[in-house]
């Protein structure tokens, strides 16, 4: 018999901080901005989540972990609902979380006033954000590919310490 300890929205959010993105084990789903809302009704709780990328395979694991975590704490009726609007953005990642990413070896998203103009999307000579190497801090880095080990990361290379690294791309 498990005694339910959490009853308020804030308590549930606190519990959800134990759920990590399996691809980014240093960051929890609340600080990543995936959890959009929590609604409690007696023993039932509904968690609204928004996917990062449409095909992110981590979402299934995350939904499973949310249900498991809350059931472990006594909620008997846990539902996870996907919401798509407003779409997830890396702008929701706080500075403290960005520091965690950097310490883990992933360059955090750089705020770029990305021109919405089509021109930026079709020219090879587009402007690229300056991404600092998470290992040595050098800005002497280059983009190798905008697609990396997971949907949310790009591959960059540091020309100072000659180390390839992941960049959590601005989205």
């Amino acid at each position: 018999m498990v005694t339910r300890v959490a009853a308020t929205r804030e308590d549930v959010l606190e519990l959800l901080k134990a759920v990590k993105d399996p691809e980014l084990p240093v960051v929890d789903i609340v600080e990543l901005g995936i959890v959009r809302d929590v609604a409690i009704d007696g023993d039932a709780v509904r968690v609204d989540v928004t996917p990062t990328y449409s095909g992110c395979p981590a979402m299934q694991v995350i939904e499973h972990d949310i249900v498991e975590r809350l059931e472990m704490r006594g909620f008997t009726n846990v539902t996870v609902r996907s919401v798509f609007s407003p779409p997830w953005t890396t702008d929701w990642i706080s500075d403290a979380t960005k520091r965690k990413l950097r310490e883990y070896g992933i360059a955090p998203p750089v705020d770029v006033a990305e021109a919405d103009g089509v021109d930026q999307l079709v020219t090879i000579r587009r402007s690229r954000p300056t991404v600092e190497c998470p290992y040595c801090g050098s800005a002497n880095t280059e983009e190798k590919s905008e697609f990396g080990s997971t949907a949310c990361k790009a591959i960059h290379y540091c020309k100072s310490c000659q180390q390839p690294f992941d960049y959590f791309k601005s989205f």
Partner: protein, 251 residues
């Protein structure tokens, strides 16, 4: 505008992305360089993810208890609503990149407009896809410039791909009654408005890539949704065999 129209439209959106995503996934392990292998697999994943969302919604709209898996794995070839262009075999790398560019430019404009759809669920799904397709468009347009303005061989292969694919592009803008009714209801964009924007964008990339758009290509005889080339059936038999051999299996 009826529920049938919306269901049909969601199948079009979902099937274009499912079939193209599946084709792209054939590159996994065969990319010309490692980074590109990873990029193509990532884009395939985005497309299949988008397809999942559209087909899931299609199943809800239909209201017959079919989910995205039922629609992907248990429909027959004639029930698929994708463009013929996306079902063609992957060809060489140039063919794959040219096709991506032609589709990405279309998808970019489509998603941009769909974000304003009167159907809020559809608008939400499109707003996510819009962000993804920006990355896809940048990928395909940059590669096309490298290939077109690269070596003699890469240029010739890219030009051949443009010449071979061009006749399939008209189907993207073939507005039938379903599209007309959905546009009138504020749900879908006006394809006649998208076409000139698409032409301008594609012509710009072609010009940067030193490639030319063929002018005297005969259009397909049947450019309407639901007609297929000989290639889709073969692709589906491979894509659907596991789900059909083990109905109800989950993994």
């Amino acid at each position: 505008m009826s529920n049938d129209d919306l269901f049909e439209y969601l199948l079009r959106l979902g099937d274009d992305r499912l079939v193209l995503g599946h084709r792209l996934s054939e590159w996994c392990g065969h990319g010309p360089i490692l980074e590109e292998d990873i990029a193509l697999a990532n884009i395939a994943l985005d497309l299949i993810g988008q397809a999942t969302l559209y087909l899931h919604f299609a199943g809800e709209v239909e209201g017959k208890g079919r989910n995205e898996d039922a629609l992907a794995y248990f429909r027959e070839e004639v029930e698929f609503r994708n463009l013929k262009m996306v079902e063609l075999p992957i060809g060489d790398f140039a063919f794959t990149i040219v096709r991506q560019l032609l589709f990405d430019a279309f998808s970019f404009l489509q998603m941009q407009e769909l974000q304003k759809s009167a159907n809020s669920e559809l608008a939400g799904i499109a707003s996510k896809g819009y962000k993804e397709v920006r990355y896809h468009l940048r990928h395909s347009s940059e590669w096309l410039q490298r290939l077109g303005d690269g070596t003699e061989e890469s240029h010739d292969r890219a030009q051949k791909a443009v010449d071979d694919l061009w006749r399939y592009t008209r189907e993207m803008f073939a507005a039938d009654e379903v599209e007309e009714r959905l546009h009138a209801a504020g749900i879908a964009p006006d394809l006649r408005m998208l076409e000139p924007q698409w032409r301008t964008m594609v012509a710009d990339v072609m010009q940067r890539s030193t490639l030319s758009i063929p002018s005297d290509v005969p259009p397909l005889e049947q450019d309407e949704r639901g007609r297929h080339t000989e290639y889709l059936g073969h692709m589906l038999s491979e894509m659907q065999i596991v789900a059909r051999s083990h109905p109800g299996a989950e993994w």
